[in-house]
Symmetry: C2
């Protein structure tokens, strides 16, 4: 029995500025034909940036997809072929006005591997210093410094719901505890 699914046919159904949609017939592990829908996404980077007084830099922005303002860690999409850390440094400064002297990888996550190839890389950043705020022209966000305890409480009360933010927070806390 094959451990993967072989592509039989693959057709691009939508080519957007950010995402593409592909539909595929695949050979399933029992030899039958299955139908799959996929979204191709460039992936992104999220940064858990900790201040010297143990607060985390957070951005609040309106997310039209879910029709809500969400509180998230600073983040951005990867340019084609871009190194995730380069992207993370850029997005941290553009969104919050801060740069960091220290970065460490917290690994990556697949937000929704059932249909999307999107990969989100996470970094922990500290030793912050002032850079220059410069958000994208279609990006409007408010910046907050929120204590570790308050973020924990917002996550457990289900008031922070963004996947990369929750994972970044928990992995950062474990990293700090273990190092």
């Amino acid at each position: 029995m094959s451990l993967n699914e072989k592509t039989i046919t693959s057709e691009i159904k939508f080519e957007g500025k950010i995402i593409n949609v592909r539909v595929e017939d695949v050979e399933l592990q029992n030899g039958k034909v299955g139908y799959r829908e996929f979204v191709d996404h460039p992936g992104g980077v999220g940064i858990v940036a900790i201040t010297s007084d143990n607060k985390i830099l957070m951005v609040k922005q309106y997310r039209k997809a879910v029709e809500k303002e969400l509180l998230e860690i600073p983040a951005g999409k990867l340019e084609k072929g871009e190194d995730p850390l380069v992207c993370g440094k850029r997005e941290l400064e553009e969104e919050t006005g801060y740069k960091a002297k220290e970065f460490v990888s917290l690994g990556y996550l697949y937000p929704s591997p059932g249909f999307a190839n999107e990969t989100t890389h996470l970094y922990l950043a500290w030793d912050l210093y002032k850079g220059k705020v410069n958000p994208d022209e279609d990006e409007f966000l408010d910046i907050f410094e929120i204590s570790v305890e308050e973020i924990y409480s917002l996550i457990m009360k289900n008031e922070i719901n963004d996947a990369k933010t929750i994972i970044g927070f928990f992995k950062a806390m474990e990293y700090i505890k273990n190092n």
Copy 2:
């Protein structure tokens, strides 16, 4: 200044069996026009099911979108209008062959709120007993019982990357610690 983005035009670009794609022109918070691409997804449910000897039920399956086998908590997509807990109970039994006497909500997450409205509900389940395995016809998975310590280690070593699995694990551990 408006806190949201008003829809100016909205057009469905792809209607699939699972996802739809919409593109929109929206009024940004500075009054200018922005372009957005969205994926509409039915959402889903993930279950952190803990055995009496402190192991977690995990499923391994090939995820064509990321071209890898992934280790994940049991999960499934919501039917239209379905109660998430009903969906969670069904998916747990279909994928693992286990039912549970106790369920508690661990809230929900937005896997990728930058472009998708997908919402994933999470539950912690315990007091497990045997039901009947019955996976979807295009679903092939192996079931494992893995200790809490091993899951923690796999997450921190970046060997578990599925968002709902990582969030479900950490929120379940915190719930258990706090209750």
